[in-house]
Structures are given as structure tokens and as C-alpha cells.
Symmetry: C2
């Protein structure tokens, strides 16, 4: 039994969908960002970084979405969520997820989390103005060079798919023109129609 610490509208949705895809046994624990619960003493005991997601397992706590997604895939090999016996294919999958984590999500974070890297409100405004371009460049790269189709890694659905879908929730608010990235938008629509995705989103919004 796992426990996923999540907040709606954050990247924790990726691990939530993957747990559904794996048919894993798990509980959800909502961290209320409106009450800044991610910085509460109780939650900092779970994840000293003060962010979501975190996942409690019988062996201990895991954080960082790419690591958690690979762990879910490896823990439930029958679900076929990664090509586990092929190091090169696994590396390509991990490379995609690492790019989402360290480049796309980071570019996006400059819209509302500029305080992580600067102090002046004028800098935050400057960062916000750049987000359509910086996030847009990531989606151009994904559209033209990375998304193999129909799924991220090609014919087989993997842990890269819920991760891309999760971050792609934010692209309009980031000022990216959906018309520029038809493959990404088609992927998002097909993901949104999957029962596991609908269930995970409904659970997060109902709590």
C-alpha cells in the first residue's frame, strides 16, 4: 500500500494516473496549498523540500516525479508502463521525463514561482512575460522532435504519457498557442478520454 501526497493542479497528477495505470493499491492525502500545508511541520517531516508529490511506501518516502514514475513502472511490471528489460529504451523514456522535469516544468514555474530565483517584483514580471516563449520552445521541441506518436514513446503507452498530459494542462495559461502543437493537443485529448485519467482527476477535485 502506497500513500500519495498530492495537490490538485500540480504535477502530482502524473504519479496519480500512473498508480491507476499500474492497478496499484494506494491512498491519497491532499496537501492544501491554500493553507500552505506543503510548508507545515507535519508535511516537512514527510518531504523536507516542502513540495508535492511525495509517496509513502513500505520502504520509505519517495519524491521527484521522474523517480516515482520509474518506481511505479518497476514495481508493477505486469502493467507494461516502461520497457524495463531494454536499457536504451528505458533511457529514452527517462530522458523525456527528465526534460519535462528540469526544462519544461522549470520554464513554467517562472510564471508563478519567480521568488525561487529572484526577489524583485520587476524581475517576476519580466519572467512572466518570457514564459510563453520559454515554455513554447519546449513544446515546439516536444512536438517536432520528441513525441513519436500515438504515445510519447511510440506505439506503447508508458509513464511518459501521464507526465506530458499533466504538464500540458497548463499550456494555455502559459500563453502557448495550441494551434502550433497539434500532436501535443491530440495526445492531451486522447489522454483526457482514458477512464484512469478521468478517475484520477475526479478524485483530486472531489476531495
Amino acid at each position: 500500500m502506497f500513500k500519495l501526497y498530492y495537490a490538485p493542479h500540480t504535477c502530482s497528477l502524473a504519479s496519480h494516473i500512473a498508480l491507476e495505470d499500474a492497478d496499484a493499491s494506494y491512498q491519497l492525502e491532499r496537501i492544501d496549498f491554500r493553507k500552505t500545508e506543503q510548508q507545515s511541520a507535519a508535511y516537512l517531516e514527510v518531504n523536507p523540500k516542502g513540495r508535492v508529490p511525495a509517496m509513502a511506501t513500505p520502504r520509505g518516502i519517495l519524491t521527484e516525479t521522474p523517480a516515482m514514475l520509474a518506481f511505479i513502472a518497476q514495481s508493477f511490471p505486469a502493467a507494461g508502463l516502461a520497457q524495463l528489460s531494454d536499457p536504451f529504451a528505458f533511457a529514452e523514456l527517462q530522458s523525456f521525463n527528465s526534460y519535462l522535469c528540469s526544462t519544461l516544468h522549470v520554464a513554467h514555474a517562472h510564471r508563478m514561482r519567480g521568488h525561487r530565483w529572484a526577489d524583485d517584483p520587476a524581475s517576476f514580471a519580466d519572467m512572466q512575460r518570457k514564459v510563453p516563449k520559454s515554455v513554447g520552445a519546449c513544446y515546439d521541441m516536444i512536438e517536432t522532435r520528441m513525441l513519436k506518436g500515438p504515445w510519447v514513446m511510440g506505439s506503447t503507452y508508458t509513464i511518459a504519457d501521464p507526465y506530458l498530459f499533466t504538464l500540458a494542462q497548463w499550456l494555455e495559461e502559459d500563453g502557448v498557442d495550441p494551434a502550433r502543437i497539434p500532436k501535443v493537443m491530440d495526445h492531451r485529448a486522447r489522454m483526457a478520454a482514458r477512464p484512469n485519467v478521468k478517475k484520477a482527476i475526479a478524485e483530486e477535485l472531489a476531495a
Copy 2:
């Protein structure tokens, strides 16, 4: 046979050391940042992201340090560079590397790569002023909560060690006080004394 595309003083050193640790057969190809070769048409064919590292393999090109390090560990299991048969231990290792990639390296990049996320020179100066605090907070987290000792993951040397060592080259220039992080500094000194690390650094600086 692999070919590692690298530049001195960048995070490509982590994969270079890991290739040495794995006793892998590889060639080096230097990308000259002084000539902006990372943006040349020839290199963009290798890595359309225009960054290092990239690694050519018989199956194709890999990018993103966490993915490359895991690939090296999985491709040379006899080297024992990761606990490959234990998904939880592997996830903890990946979580550490993901944090270095998406949080520590990103915080560091705001010192010299502010143009990725803003346009105004005043914003770049603001970002630079914050680097000692943002990078310092990452090292505090590594020092107090992550680095198990003597190696990052505990008693066994893994792919997390060359990665931490590589990024730790930059901490003084980032304005982090080494006296605050004795475990990180001890780890850096022990890494610097390893023959494979000396060999990799010497190769990069000699080219």
C-alpha cells in the same frame, strides 16, 4: 562504443566519470562553447536542444544526465554503479539525481543563464544576487537530509557520486560558504582523489 559530447566545466563531467567507472569503451568529442559550437548546425543534428552532454550509442543518441547515468549503470551491471535489482533503492538514487538536475543545477543556472527565463539585464542581476541563497538552500538540503555518507547513497559508490561531485565544482563561484556543508566538501575531496576522476578531468582540460 559510445561517443560522449562534452564541454569542460559543465555537467557532462558526471557522465564522463561514470563511463570511466563502468570501464566502458568510449570516445570523447569536445564541443567548444567559446565558438558556440553547441548551437552549430552539426551539433544540433546530434542534440537539437543545443546543450551538453549528449552520448551517441549504437542504438541512437541519448541526452539528459540522469537518464544517461542510469543507462551507463544498467549497461555495465558488473560495475555496480546502481542497485539495479531493488526498485526502491534505484528510485532513491534516481530521486537524488533528479533533484540535482531540476533544482540544484537550475538554481545554479540563474547565475549565468538568466536569459533562458527573462530578458532584462536588471532581472539577470537580481537572479545573480539570489544564487548564493537558492543554491545554498539546495546544499543545506543535501548536507542535512540526503547525503548518507560516506557516499551519497551510503556505503556503496553509485552514479549519484560523480553527479554531485560535478555540480559541487561550482559552489564557491555560486557564493556558497563551504564551511556550512562539511559532508559535501569531504565527499568532493574524496571524489577528487579517485584515479578515474583525475583521469576524466585531465582528459577534458587537455583536449
